[in-house]
Amino acid sequence: MTQHLARRKSIAEWVTLSLSVLVVGALILVALVEESRRQDGDGTALQVTFDTEGATTQGENFYVPYVVLNTGSEAISSAEIWIDVYDGERVVESAEITVQFLPLQGKQDGVFVTTRDPASHALRSRIESLQFP
């Protein structure tokens, strides 16, 4: 036995479908905007910022917070960065940090430990190598 029934989409179904299209559409839109921003980006670029004012001391060591930010147009799977501590124009201390999985506009927080007072010394970074996914 079969039944013949007239069918019309209810208002509730239309609302659900419309909201769903909005949600998926928003996701696609964000992806397209991010892609456009990526294409306008300037290749590979990493930015390392030290917060010397936020440094703390523990014994003879100074703990200096830093942020590594991927400002380029490619995701980075691994970055090796040298941090040099300068006393005037002379490098008095160096250390290497490795950062992994830096997506587009991704950032990695960390703390650099040095025996030199960041208030009287300059901290500079240089990228040694990068690896891409």
Binding site: T2, A6, T16, V24, E34, E74, K107
Partner: protein, 299 residues
């Protein structure tokens, strides 16, 4: 005009359009969580999403839509018969439910909307959306309306037993089912070391939100989606037979199973800090509590 198969529930049901929509959505979400949570709860999938470029994410989204469309055509998550272009609409809805579920999970875990860029959110959602939307799309099979929660399926060992359990023995049996469900998921997660990485990635302040989402999803899986036997379960007498008590019981069972397995596999020991034990247990209980709730559906 549409020819309805025999016994097929009609749709829309007059006067119940909105509640049917809500039931279908929650049932789909519950099914999506159950299928997708192992992928969502893997830090490697987060990192893979981080490295995705936006166009890769769009390709994954398109692929997931095609898979979901196929699953919706063969199984689906909506009440009543569908036809023609409605399958395409249902697949979009399944995808949207998956997006919302993933947004909720990643936000609660502090993995999006906490200083991360939009491309990270898109990448992480794109990597995990396939299994979750597939889970939504097969809700009619996984959490079927016509499958009884109180009668065993044909062929089940419990179907061969001469009588049904009742009273305290039934409550005990349901507790055991919750434990079994939680064990099912925990045994797949605890031996691999993902939990340690997830523990370091999730901010401490987010753990209360994780507990809240665990309870909401657990409640949804067991009660809110209009599963078969729901009404009967709501009116069954007994201290552990209220919706709130059942949800909390399933969650507590999951917590205990998580603690036991973390201890058994050496992920925590007597030297572990209380905060470490708390963090690992709460995070692991997130997928485990869903499985514990699903375990109760099986009895």
């Amino acid at each position: 005009m549409l020819v309805e198969p025999r016994s097929a529930p009609t749709r829309p049901r007059p006067g119940r359009e909105w509640s049917d929509e809500f039931d279908d959505a929650v049932r789909g979400l519950a099914s999506g969580f159950l299928i997708g949570v192992p992928v969502v709860f893997t830090v490697d999938s987060w990192w893979l999403g981080d490295q995705n470029e936006p166009l890769d994410s769009l390709a994954l989204l398109a692929f997931s839509y095609v898979l979901t469309l196929a699953a919706v055509y063969w199984i689906g998550f909506r009440r009543g018969q569908r036809r023609g272009w409605q399958y395409f609409g249902d697949a979009i809805e399944a995808l949207a439910l998956a997006v919302l579920a993933l947004l909720a999970v990643f936000w609660v875990l502090g993995q999006i909307g906490d200083g991360q860029s939009p491309s990270i959110a898109v990448g992480r959602i794109a990597v995990a959306i396939g299994p979750v939307s597939l889970g939504v799309a097969v809700a009619n099979h996984l959490l079927a309306r016509d499958a009884s929660r109180v009668d065993p399926d044909p062929g089940d060992a419990s179907a061969m037993r001469p009588r049904q359990l009742s009273g305290p023995r039934r409550t005990l049996f349901e507790l055991a089912a919750s434990v079994a469900g939680a064990l099912f998921v925990c045994l797949a997660i605890v031996p691999v070391d993902d939990l340690a990485a997830i523990t370091t990635e999730v901010p401490l302040r987010n753990l209360p939100l994780v507990i809240l989402l665990s309870l909401i999803v657990t409640y949804s899986v067991v009660f809110a989606a209009g599963f078969a036997g729901e009404a009967r379960r709501h009116r069954t007498p007994g201290p552990l037979q209220t919706p709130f008590a059942e949800t909390v019981t399933a969650y507590l069972a999951a917590l205990l199973v998580c603690l036991a397995l973390l201890w058994l596999f050496g992920r925590i020991d007597e030297d572990s800090a209380v905060m470490e034990i708390y963090t690992k247990t709460v995070l692991l209980a997130f997928p485990a509590s869903m499985a514990a709730a699903a375990g109760r559906l099986a009895v």
